[in-house]
Symmetry: D2
Amino acid sequence: MEMKKKLSGIFAPITTPFVNEDVSLEHLKANMLKYRNTGLAGFFALGSNGENKSLAEDEKLKVLEVVLHEKAERQLLMAGTGYESTRQTIAFSKKVAEMGADFVSVVTPSYFKKRLTDEAMTGYYIDIADAVSVPVLAYNAPGFTGMTLSAKVVEKISQHPNIVGMKDTSAGNMSSYLDVCSDDFDILAGTISTLFTAMSLGASGGVVSLANAFPNPCCELYEKFNSGDLVGARQLHFRLFRLNRSVSGSFGVAGVKYAMEVGGYYGGDPRLPLLPLSDDNKKDICNAVAKAGL
Amino acid sequence: MEMKKKLSGIFAPITTPFVNEDVSLEHLKANMLKYRNTGLAGFFALGSNGENKSLAEDEKLKVLEVVLHEKAERQLLMAGTGYESTRQTIAFSKKVAEMGADFVSVVTPSYFKKRLTDEAMTGYYIDIADAVSVPVLAYNAPGFTGMTLSAKVVEKISQHPNIVGMKDTSAGNMSSYLDVCSDDFDILAGTISTLFTAMSLGASGGVVSLANAFPNPCCELYEKFNSGDLVGARQLHFRLFRLNRSVSGSFGVAGVKYAMEVGGYYGGDPRLPLLPLSDDNKKDICNAVAKAGL
Amino acid sequence: MEMKKKLSGIFAPITTPFVNEDVSLEHLKANMLKYRNTGLAGFFALGSNGENKSLAEDEKLKVLEVVLHEKAERQLLMAGTGYESTRQTIAFSKKVAEMGADFVSVVTPSYFKKRLTDEAMTGYYIDIADAVSVPVLAYNAPGFTGMTLSAKVVEKISQHPNIVGMKDTSAGNMSSYLDVCSDDFDILAGTISTLFTAMSLGASGGVVSLANAFPNPCCELYEKFNSGDLVGARQLHFRLFRLNRSVSGSFGVAGVKYAMEVGGYYGGDPRLPLLPLSDDNKKDICNAVAKAGL
Amino acid sequence: MEMKKKLSGIFAPITTPFVNEDVSLEHLKANMLKYRNTGLAGFFALGSNGENKSLAEDEKLKVLEVVLHEKAERQLLMAGTGYESTRQTIAFSKKVAEMGADFVSVVTPSYFKKRLTDEAMTGYYIDIADAVSVPVLAYNAPGFTGMTLSAKVVEKISQHPNIVGMKDTSAGNMSSYLDVCSDDFDILAGTISTLFTAMSLGASGGVVSLANAFPNPCCELYEKFNSGDLVGARQLHFRLFRLNRSVSGSFGVAGVKYAMEVGGYYGGDPRLPLLPLSDDNKKDICNAVAKAGL
């Protein structure tokens, strides 16, 4: 059996730009043209910061087209394809695979959380991985879904040849997951706030929203750690941790989008019902960026 | 200003029948032909028990067509139209209103729960009610969404002329909501387990999954209470409470669907990743029905 | 076997008065002399509002002495005796029984909540009931303890001849408990906010903090319900519900103590680390009392 | 101003041995005579694993006497002195300080958690630190208390000259706390499962229950990390993480006590209502120890 492809580095879970609530492919393209010259290993499109759940399917497909077209060839694309039913997720994952996405990243379903037992969740990921031609990543996002993948599910799905890794944004489960997963299963930290400790434990990299606004410092943290500069990595960790708390931690997607503007990208507002930031909120972010010295 | 239409009685949050994962409109029609001769005041289609979040939009529209066509004229239709973004919800609600649904029932968005402040939630419901021609019901379902509507939001939206009521499946908030809502805002208990106490407090009726399988006993509880037979209502409450705990309480949608088979309707399995019941689970439900003496 | 003594009516979970952090037996006595002429069926001393966990054991004994001495003979005394270990709880319960308390009310232990299985909790209450000469009440207080008694535990312990009832302050479990408990097990609502619905379901009365400040209106709600005046009871329910939300609901023990001052009793401050109310907080309570028209 | 004393190394949160529910000072002494020849930097007596909340105060004092008498002189003693009220905690802390404890370790109060605001918690620790002659450690134990210290509280209390550090058993807050605390404030990981990542971030050591049974491997992890052997430390981390999950993670204090027996110490049963382990539970622990190769 073939070994799974090795994932590593920093991925940006790119946002979906809106102008007056319409998806703006022009702004998306402009952002991508800047990202292609960064150290980013790739992109997670249509994730939480991409407001996946707030988009219609035709909008999702257009977003992917632009990203696929504009990213550098060396950069990989993970496309968020999770729906609540196995059937919907497979159908959309197949479309996305045909378009050329390198991975599908499948967030846990969550609506029926009381009945989504370990058996149901394991079956879900295996059914998808059996049906889809590109490799599958699990996406564990309890802050959004209210569902946490158990270590047992991770252990089982990690052994499937077409389930190659996961993005984990939960707090404090990294050791559990790394302890039980197969050797060729790559776990990526889901936020810059845990990247440093995740890498200490053996994680392969991160898919971190701060990289949407400040890709290079995030890549620098990854590099510093990998080059053995623990002290430097730790210092940078705390600088980025503090900044991230004032951006995504305080304001979610709207915060990430405004930080992108500070960082030289198009941000714009999130789609309603998410509210735009107030001027005071924006000032807080500006101050946090200034303090971080980026 | 016109008074809001008065909602009352028992509504069935009908399930969506599947055969081999495909929506079966035939089975849905057959169920409806039985329901039209019951005491049900109407239906909530495409709710949680309708597996709304597991359906594609074209499937949803076909379900609504059948229900609209087969229900008795006196019976009302609430259609579940909630998506995660205001834009999607409005777009789908408009389609549904044109088809002839009496109400749209809009579950709270939940993915970005950390940023769905009272202000965001109030704005969400008001934007929808302003844009849609049929009256809007809120749907508070923390067991599924992890989001609970605050009393402040209920207070504000209840004053909008086109937001006429809500289905509440939360535990222990009924007094808070009834305390603050406007006088012409109808609150419906979201489960048979709370119908009796909700009516004691002033709720207008219920949208209760047990009515999918056993509509008449659920209507009987409503009637007994309304006719002033408190002792009889309480006794029936405990019988149905106990049964409901063994059906929806233990097994969710899959349990409701199997209870429907026991009650003489088509149930079938839920869509994956929800798993079908085991034979033992089914026996538990049969026993509970037998004990309830229905 | 003898039938259990029937509990009914409204009990005040009396506060422990402090002057400069010292227990003030004088103020306690003065409060009791007023309470003895109310319709209160009795008292729960050393409960949550009695700041049980903030008192040394010798202070607890002195409080009980005063209450036993000053209450009317017809009024019953429940004494809070729960500690974290079976051994401590039994030892203190025995002392209290010898002093003449009518019941011991034993809050669930909670520190080791992860290991307090149904088996452990059942054993706990049975060990105590076997060892103590006065009847035992369970006290379910998840808002303080983070522990909720399961219906299975309630079912089992309710069958013990010396476990005669429980105070329940949880949200939405009353039907579950009443459904499974033995016929001679009395369940008391733990707050005025749920007294009305609890009585609709068959609860025997209430132990409600609002009765510390306004005993007669609380007794009136109980009487109205019992005399069959549902409409009057419901109206009074909403008046007291709203008031309670502004007192205990907003400020806990400190709020209850200040409401006592408004109601003509000695309140004072809670023991540190609980903070005294601000002037604004106090104004809020005054306004809420005025609105309630008491 | 004097610098705070520097805490570092591995501390054992020693258990309290019982024989038939009575504290056994003999067994405690025997354990201590073994511990004094290990690499342990000291002890946390009367913590969660010491079943603090299940002991009477005279029992607590006797435990401390033995520990103070039998530990090696180089080993430090932290004594758990937290009660629910400031008054009780100060009174007991003073006794303990007079006996010769090096630190008092004060768990957060939790019974009135809804009213224990940041202001209340900051006041609590500062009042204690002002009143007690020995340095104070905070103890953050949400798994037991349901309370989590906010970063704001940690920031403020860390600046008090007599509050010198904290034991943190929460999941995922280490970066937040280290980010804001003063430079001379020592944070200790509260479980072996997080020691490795905590030290990566700058924690000073750990107070870890696995050290009750296997002190030397725990100390070895600390040493490996400090000597710069990251790869070795990570490998040992995963071995101990896995073992710990099968001991404290699965069975709490009862598991720790049985692991102590496997490790050559006296364990015994916890005090009721905590139940003793079954034979199967014990076998699980034996197997986990064997697999860990200790």
